[in-house]
Structure formats: C-alpha cells, structure tokens
C-alpha cells in the first residue's frame, strides 16, 4: 500500500522523542518539555465549574456543538482581544484544539505544495512539524535580541515569489525566550504589506511577562486584516483541555471553520464550557499573576546558575517572560550527544538543532524552567554545569 509523498518528509517531534527517553528514566529532572508548572493547575476550580456545568447544562456539554465554538466562550475571547486593542466581533473568532491546530490549519489555508513559509530561525518545533504535510519549503530568518532581522527578511521576500505566510512568536518565543521590539513588529507588518503576505502571530506566552511593559501585538496594529492572531489557554489555564483560538478577518475565519468541519467537526464541548464557566466565576488574571511570580523566580534561579556554573563559552538568552532559556554551546558541540551523557546524570533537555528549519546548529539547547521545582532546577543545573564544564 502506497503512502502519500508528504509522509516522507514528516518526522517525529524531537521534543516528544526526547520526552520518551526521559520518561523511561525514573525521577529524571527534565528541562525538556514545554510543560506548564504543575503547581498552578486550577484543579479545584475546574472541579467546581464542571460540577455546575454537568448539573445545569450536561445535555449541552456532552452533546455535539457548533464547529465555530461554544458561543459564550467566543464572546469572552472577543473581549480578551478587545482588551489587547484588537477590534473584533465573535465573527472573527474560531476555536481550535490548542493553537497547535490553528498553526496547522493556517498552513492548510495558505500553502500549496512547493510554496514557502517564513519562520524565525530558530522557530517553534511544533509549527515546523505541522508544516510537514503541506510539502512546502520553510525558510528560517535569523533573529537577534529585538526579533527577526528585517534586512534578511526583505531579501528573502524579494527573491522568493512563492512565500505564502510568515509565522512568528513575537513574545517570549519558543524556543529562545526572546521578544520582538515594537519597531521590529511595525517593520514586519510593513514588509508583509509591501509583499502582500499574511502574518501568523502566535502568542501563547504573551501573558507571562516578568518585567517591562507589554508591547502591542502585531494584530493590534493591523489595519488591513493581514494578521492572523493565535491565542491559547494552554499556558495560563490547562494545557490538557486543548483549547486555543484564531482571531482573524471574518472571511478567513469562515474558511478556517470549513477546515475545522472536515478536520474534526469541533473541539471538545465540555472543555470550552469549563473555560467559559471558570471565566464567569474566577479572575484569570489572578491565576496568571501566580504563574508569573513563580516562573520569574525560576527564570532568575536558572539564569543565575547558568552564569555561575556553566563555562563562560556558553551563551544564553535572557527571557523577560515565557518558559524557555536558550543556550549556544561552543561551535562544534553536539547537544544530541550531550543529552545522552546528561541523561546518565538523570537530567534532560531538548537539543536545539531541530528548531531550525535547515540542518545544523547542533550546538544549541532549549531549557524549560516552568515545569521543575526550584529544588529540581538547582540540582539539575548544577549537574548540567558539571557536565558542560567537563566537556568544554
């Protein structure tokens, strides 16, 4: 039986594969997966609202519902968007199964075989994976501490006539933790307009800011419906419920809705109601504040230990929010080999190479600080420091 040609280019996620290695070890300290902290899962709150939903609206929660999403939740999300100065109605919102599904749908919507998607270099691994089935080229544009380098972007936009979308994570990026400056966001919007390319602005970490002022989203500056904004409850509420959304031009949303119908009819109905009811009864901002305070402390500890215990030849980013620190090891280092050695010490991380659309960059590492406790971070970083000191 012959498989489609797209399957040849699709490979398992390096994170989920590293995760399997780590899961096979007992009590491994893992900086690998991008998991939220277990300390702030709103278990009691979800229990309470679920009881209420099943008592009062069980016949809605357990039955098929609309493809577009649960109407009261659409209204809540619309308000969240308006609070970010994104003008919209519920016609501009489509619920998805996490923003992962929204990324995948965007490639389906915009990209034909042989077309090009532009991403940051490095970019979110899950996005690169979701582009696989569309048999397109993915071109990574190098970044600095203020975002994508605009001269390199324009060069590419000029030379490649088949660029169909630009995918970016401007806030506390996965994997590097970097944030785009306001100027760079404006410049991206200008270039995208000049070359008539849509921007997919993925913002799962935007609320988790430790310091400094919020920088406007690209979508909030978008006067011509060029930006497709992706939001998610995974990092600030519950990842396991798998609820995200798309905020975009009404006509585009109607296309996303048709795609969603064919893909899985609709997302889990109860989960949408759980989030809606939580937002009725609780203040999500209080939840976010707890997360921010904790992650800030963890970021501080991880960065301090990198500075104190790692060889000076290792460079790191300094995330002002989100969940990740990014390391550049000395040229020639192979993070995949180092992971094997690190696992012998019962410490895991993700090698950074797979986050680049092209090969190479094997001397990079993504470290997650949200999921482990302060004690685990301390112990794990000391062990990693020993390993890296031995190696470099």
């Amino acid at each position: 039986m012959k498989l489609s040609s797209r399957i040849d280019v699709m490979k398992p996620s390096a994170i989920r594969e590293a995760g399997k290695l780590i899961a096979a070890k007992e009590n491994c300290i893992s900086f690998a997966a991008g998991l939220p902290s277990p300390d702030f899962l709103p278990i009691e709150e979800v229990k309470e609202v679920t009881e209420y939903i099943l008592e009062e609206m069980g016949h809605i929660a357990l039955q098929y519902g609309p493809t577009k999403g649960y109407a009261p939740l659409l209204t809540k999300i619309q308000k969240m968007m308006m609070d970010k100065n994104i003008l919209c109605s519920t016609d501009n919102i489509q619920i998805t199964t996490g923003s992962q599904q929204a990324i995948s749908f965007s490639a389906m919507l915009f990209v034909d075989k042989g077309d090009t998607i532009i991403t940051e270099n490095p970019s979110y691994l899950g996005a690169l994976a979701s582009f696989g089935p569309y048999e397109c080229n993915v071109k990574g544009i190098d970044v600095d501490n203020a975002g994508m380098k605009m001269d390199l972007l324009e060069e590419t936009l000029k030379s490649d006539k088949r660029i169909k979308m630009i995918y970016v994570v401007p806030n506390f990026s996965n994997p590097t933790g970097r944030t785009w400056s306001l100027e760079r966001r404006k410049a991206l919007l200008e270039l995208a307009t000049k070359y008539d390319v849509p921007i997919i602005e993925d913002n799962p970490y935007g609320e988790i800011r430790f310091e400094g002022e919020e920088i406007p989203t690209i979508k909030s500056m978008d006067s011509e419906n060029r930006v497709i904004y992706l939001g998610s409850f995974s990092k600030v509420f519950c990842a396991g419920l798998r609820v995200g959304w798309i905020c975009a031009d009404k006509e585009l949303i109607s296309k996303y809705e048709i795609i969603k119908q064919g893909a899985d009819l609709q997302s889990n109905q109860l989960a949408q109601m759980q989030i809606d009811e939580y937002l009725n009864k609780y203040d999500l901002n209080e939840q976010i504040l707890k997360i921010v305070d904790s992650y800030r402390e963890k970021r501080d500890l991880m960065c301090r230990l990198i500075d104190e215990c790692f060889p000076k030849t290792i460079k790191r980013t300094h995330p002002k929010g989100g969940m990740f620190v990014w390391l550049e090891l000395p040229e020639g280092a192979d993070a995949k080999e180092l992971l094997i050695k690190s696992l012998e010490k019962n410490v895991g991380f993700v090698p950074g190479g797979p986050f680049y659309p092209e090969d190479g960059h094997d001397n990079t590492v993504r470290l997650n600080y949200s999921n482990m406790s302060l004690e685990q971070i301390e112990k794990g970083m000391l062990l990693l420091g020993e390993l890296f000191t031995d190696e470099f």
Copy 2:
C-alpha cells in the same frame, strides 16, 4: 493575500448549514443532524468519574499528555478490539478527536493531489468534506441493500490506477442506514488485496444493532494489515467529548501519531480519562442496551409512519441499527426546495444530494430518528407526510 488552491473546492457542510437554518427556528422538529438522543447522555456518571479524576489525578488530567493517547484507555480500547476478534496490541491504537479526525488523517496519510478515493455512493458527508483539502478525486460506487456493488468497484479499480484508499461504513451506514452482508465484506477485502489498496472501515454505529446477528468487521478478517479500523465513543457515550480511535498496522499507527503531533499535539486529556474511568466503574454495554431499545422504537415508529403517511412513490431503506433512514423521492423532486417548505411547517431534514461525491440525486433525503422524542417523530412525520402528499 493568496489562499491555497485546495480552499476553492472546500464547502461548508450541508448538514451544519441545514442545522443553522433549523436552529434559527424556534421549536423546530429536526430530523437533520446526526445527533445521539439527549435521553441517554451519562451525565451523572460523567460527573462522578470527573470528580474522582480531578481529586486523584488532576495534575495528569489538566496537563499535556502523550500524543498517542492516555495509556489506560489505549488498553481498554485494545480489549474492545480483541472482543471483536481483532488481534492487536496498544501499539495498534491511536486516539483521535472523534473518528472524523481519523478519516481526515487517513486522507493525509494515503492521498496525493490528483489521486482517487473510493466511497460508497452515497457516503458520509463529513468524510467527503475531510477529503477536500487533499485535492483528490472521490469516486462513489453504487450500493444495494447488501453493500457496495463489487462489479462496479472492480471496474473502477481496473480503470483508475490512482486509487489510494477505499472508505466504507459497513454497519448501519450514514446516510442510508444500510448494512453490508458478510459476503460483500469478504469480496471487498479480496478486491482491495488484489489491487493493493487500503480499506478505511469506519464503524461508529456498529454497536447500535436492533435485530439480527452481528456481522464480523472487515478488520477481523484482515490477515495482512490492509484495513484501518475507525472506532468512536460519540454515538454510544458522549459526542461532545470528541474521542475516537484508529486501530491499524503498527507501522501505520506510528505515521498517524506523527500526523497527530503536527495537527494538534494530542486530544483532550480529561476526556480520555473520563471515558477510561467510566469504563472502570460502569458497563458500557448497559448504556448501549438502553440506546438500542430506544432507537429501535424510534426507527419502528418512523418507518411505520413513512409507510402509512407518505405517498407510495417514496422509497425508504430499513435500517437494522444506527440512526438514519434514507428516502428516495420521485425522480425530479428537489429535496433542497422541499426543505424550505418543510421548515415552514417547522420540520427539518437534510437533503441527500451532498452525500454523493458527484452532483445530482437531489431527490434523496436523510432522516435521523435518534435525536427527536417519539412525540416529535410522530408529529414531524405526519407534517412531512402532508407536505409530500401535496407534492407528489
């Protein structure tokens, strides 16, 4: 901004569009959507198991989990498959967001642009919709009361060298309610083997049998891993939880898992645990028995009223299970126009034309009997009978 070429061929679901018309009317009696009965949603049971899960395993239920699915549920599904004489291990199972997602993934796995998918004629509308993004041809093979006509199938397999999969619903088909005979199932497997084409066997209604003996699934007769079996909890447990599964060759499952990673990382974690815990504490077969008894009564009533009140020129199928009766109105009738008139009487149904991959067949109608009460069925069928008697 240019959209991908695949979007041109994708249209909104005729069911969900008819549903919008119907939802706009108050107290409409609807035989349109394929909704399970509201009477048997296990609301109390779900409430109980959810409380338990959130108390004991909340940190697992609300966190990211494995792409393949929640391990204890995989084991339960494996046992369900073994009970159907389908030899398998959990390596042969992948959880999906309803079997809708499994259909869509199957097209992604097997079909390149310009390839052909074979379906029954008519076939499940949601399957046809899910094939849209893959820019393939869909060829419907006519059916009779014993299943797909094998001579027509072989003719097509002989003449079209680009057939990459055959999609069938052998038990109580959506939309016709028909069931394949054992002989026809064996013949399909033989032909698929001869022409080396995979079979997607979609079986969401198989448990809802009113009479007669269970006929073996095609998968249970499959000695060479040619059949991809799709199962679902939507029709026997809760559609809103969106949990289905694929049972197939281990190598294929590893491909489906990669597709799932890119598409949405994983299905809702709590929903998988709710089903698993329900299966720990309750007997799904008791739930199914209640559904079967009720739907049988509804089918009996609907069929009797068709025979008594509809013009004799209208033909119907006689479903031995499932949720649908299929009507053929006299040649030249247009069910889309009749729906408008029917909605004036506050009765809805789905015109049958869109269930055919090719145009035409506008004189067909799908009637769902599971969702409405006996009283609503009685009233609605009398009103439809009046309309049809006036028309024909």
